[in-house]
Amino acid sequence: MSVIRPDRRAALGLLAGAAASGLAGCGRRDDGVLRLTFWAMGNEATNVPLLLPEFERLNPGIKVDVQALPWSAAHQKLLTAYAGDSLPDLSQVGNTWVSEMAAIGAISALPDFASDLLTDQFDAVLETNRIDGRVVGVPWYVDTRLIFYRSDLLEQAGYGAVPPTWAGWKQAMLAVKRVVGSDKYAVLLPLNEFEQLLTFGLQGDQSLLREQATRGNFSSPSFVAALAFYKSLFDEGLAPVASAAQISNVWTEFARGWFSFYFSGPWTIGDFRNRLGPETRWMTSGVPGPDGMGASAPGGSSLVVYSSSPRQEAAWTLVRYLSDPAVQARFNVVTGNLPARQSAWSAQAVANDPYIAAFKGQLARAEAVPKVPEWERIVTEMQIVAERMVRGEYTPEAAGAEIDRRADRLLEKRRWMMERGRA
């Protein structure tokens, strides 16, 4: 793997880089130091430079140049950089984008000498990085969504914890609603966010796409059951018919008891800790499923090395360093991101946090979403239909059929590719 076959893309990338800066493109300068370009996003881009002096001390021949991208533009920038042959050596990539980057052939498969990085990981997260049987990205940090709930209100309603099944959970919601009053609700499911419905859908026994992920499977009995459960929460007055933009800020409404159950990820822990007063008691819990605790979609970011990079070995060295459990535990302290390596979870700061405990269980139950480049568009369409269903335009069965129709149209190109044996 260390010998790089010169190809058009690498050569063009080298030329483009050299022409653009005269520095980034031609990594090997006279001083014999390799310069790696590493694209990171948001909070990670701010904090990862703190970890790098140690790396550069351990690997004297390598210098790392971190370039920050905003999350809101990262996806476009990666694709545009691919089209323009100007990708960096390696980058952080949202888990759900890995299949897309792999489909266009932008990222390198994990080389044999790095295969030990795949141990000690959460299965579902690793699965999202496995495309056609080959792992192409190494999970860096993980997250998933679970339930934040008002433990004080739930206690008043007579519950010590969130019941593990949909039916039990709905009983708890009805009880909470009796406590808080009819002008308030039990759960917040913003109509413009697909994550909540996707979570319910993933918990069923049927996969969301069928025929090698070339057709939608949203009218399967298990997904229709998820749609019906989702719709019933609105119909019975347990969830407000509102989009996220209509809730000015979540923590104020959560503190007021406007809703007592909230779907979110680890980033909300910090928000709630800083913004909720001590009189508001809350906790995290795994997501109830149709019969017993259910799954949710794994999130987070992976580290990928681009196939256009002529510095593969050095790039994988950096990936190895950032995947080290000790380094990940340190990164958790700085950023609050949950480590991808399970052994990093035993570090003091992670292990002693009561709010984080539920995440470990939820991550173990996580279920990978279908790995097709069209996925993001499919769930966007799914939610558009779901919103109309909630507003009374469709029954759950009709909504499932409509989502299938839209998904099939989006997947038409993929079917054509499969027929010709390209995808």
């Binding site: 809101s72 996806h75 476009q76 694709l79 545009t80 691919y82 089209a83 897309e100 489909a103 266009i104 052939g105 413009n192 989009s243 933009a245 000015s248 480049p373 568009r377 190109k413 054509w416 590719m417 390209r422 995808a423």
Partner: protein, 319 residues
């Protein structure tokens, strides 16, 4: 000038004297003319005609992310992109939003710039260069910087606009957070940003209106409003037409303002056609259907401009 005319006369005289050589001379002159316009024509061809033609071809294919990986994955699909576009409610929403922006924005911005120009042109106004700079400054300031600033001005709780509204006893407006107020909020910003440019054009043409026309009108007993409608407006009618065509084109191409201020939200109420095209092309990487959007937009602008020209012709704004 005289030299040229003399030379022309000489050339013509020579040509008249020797009629045999006339076709050859004309051909040579034609060749020279082509030589002179060639650089411009080549530039237009390479940087305009070829890309536009390529985009037209692209709009008939399903060029997408798979095609990015391997060009063999492109299929010629005829007008399917257009069919799907016309069946897409978000596209029609974008058309509606763009139409709203244009219908409200063009008259507003023209009225604002004309008013500013007329006021600045009045003899009684002092410090005219200073006012001109103040009115023109927004146009030359970076769009993103001013958009960020307007985001602060329009802020629901801390913005100065809501502070003014609530100080007269009205309840504050969530300008960029509600689908019903997001377009007016962005329009305020856009009009403020661009009126200085049109003002400058109006100011230039207002200064060419002869003073004796105004004097004659005044002697005939015309008031300020009569002088404006009967002297100023007819005098600037061709310019008004030009400005309205430019404004329509620029409002149809509104993109950066919603991109910076609302990202198309809330509830997709500020998704314009160009923003829609950007998402198709660079977010989902469907260059085929994005090119189709571009052509639909082009046809729309062309149609509106032709209507404007027809109306203007009937009203006698130009020959």
């Amino acid at each position: 000038m005289t030299d040229v005319r003399l030379n022309m006369a000489k050339v013509e005289a020579e040509a008249a004297v020797r009629p045999r050589r006339r076709p050859g001379g004309a051909r040579a002159r034609e060749r020279a003319a082509w030589g002179f316009v060639a650089p411009a024509l080549i530039a237009i061809g390479v940087f305009f005609a070829v890309p536009v033609f390529a985009a037209l071809l692209l709009s008939l294919t399903d060029f997408d992310i798979y095609a990015l990986a391997d060009l063999d994955n492109v299929r010629f699909i005829g007008v399917q992109n257009y069919e799907r576009l016309f069946g897409n409610p978000l596209f029609w929403g974008a058309m509606k939003n763009t139409g709203l922006f244009a219908v409200l924005g063009v008259p507003l911005s023209i009225a604002a710039s004309l008013a500013a120009a007329v006021i600045l042109n009045a003899r009684v106004v002092k410090w005219r260069p200073l006012w001109r700079v103040i009115f023109f400054a927004p146009f030359v300031t970076t769009l993103v910087a001013t958009a960020v600033l307007w985001n602060y001005l329009l802020h629901t709780r801390y913005g100065v606009i809501n502070w003014a509204i609530s100080s007269v006893g009205l309840s504050p407006v969530d300008w960029l957070g509600q689908p019903s107020t997001s377009i007016p909020a962005i329009l305020m910003f856009v009009v403020w940003k661009i009126f200085g440019y049109n003002m400058l054009i109006f100011l230039a043409v207002l200064q060419t209106v002869p003073d004796d026309l105004y004097e004659a009108a005044r002697i005939d007993g015309a008031g300020v409003w009569k002088r404006f409608t009967h002297v100023t407006l007819p005098a600037i009618a061709p310019t008004l037409l030009l400005v309205s065509i430019i404004s329509v084109a620029s409002f149809f191409q509104l993109f950066a303002e919603p991109y910076v201020m609302t990202q198309g939200g809330p509830a997709q109420s500020t998704v314009t056609v160009l923003y829609f095209m950007y998402e198709e092309g660079f977010k989902w990487w469907n260059l085929g259907s994005a090119s189709a959007v571009a052509f639909v937009l082009f046809v729309c602008i062309l149609a509106v401009t032709l209507v404007q020209l027809a109306v203007a012709k009937r009203m006698g704004a130009y020959e």
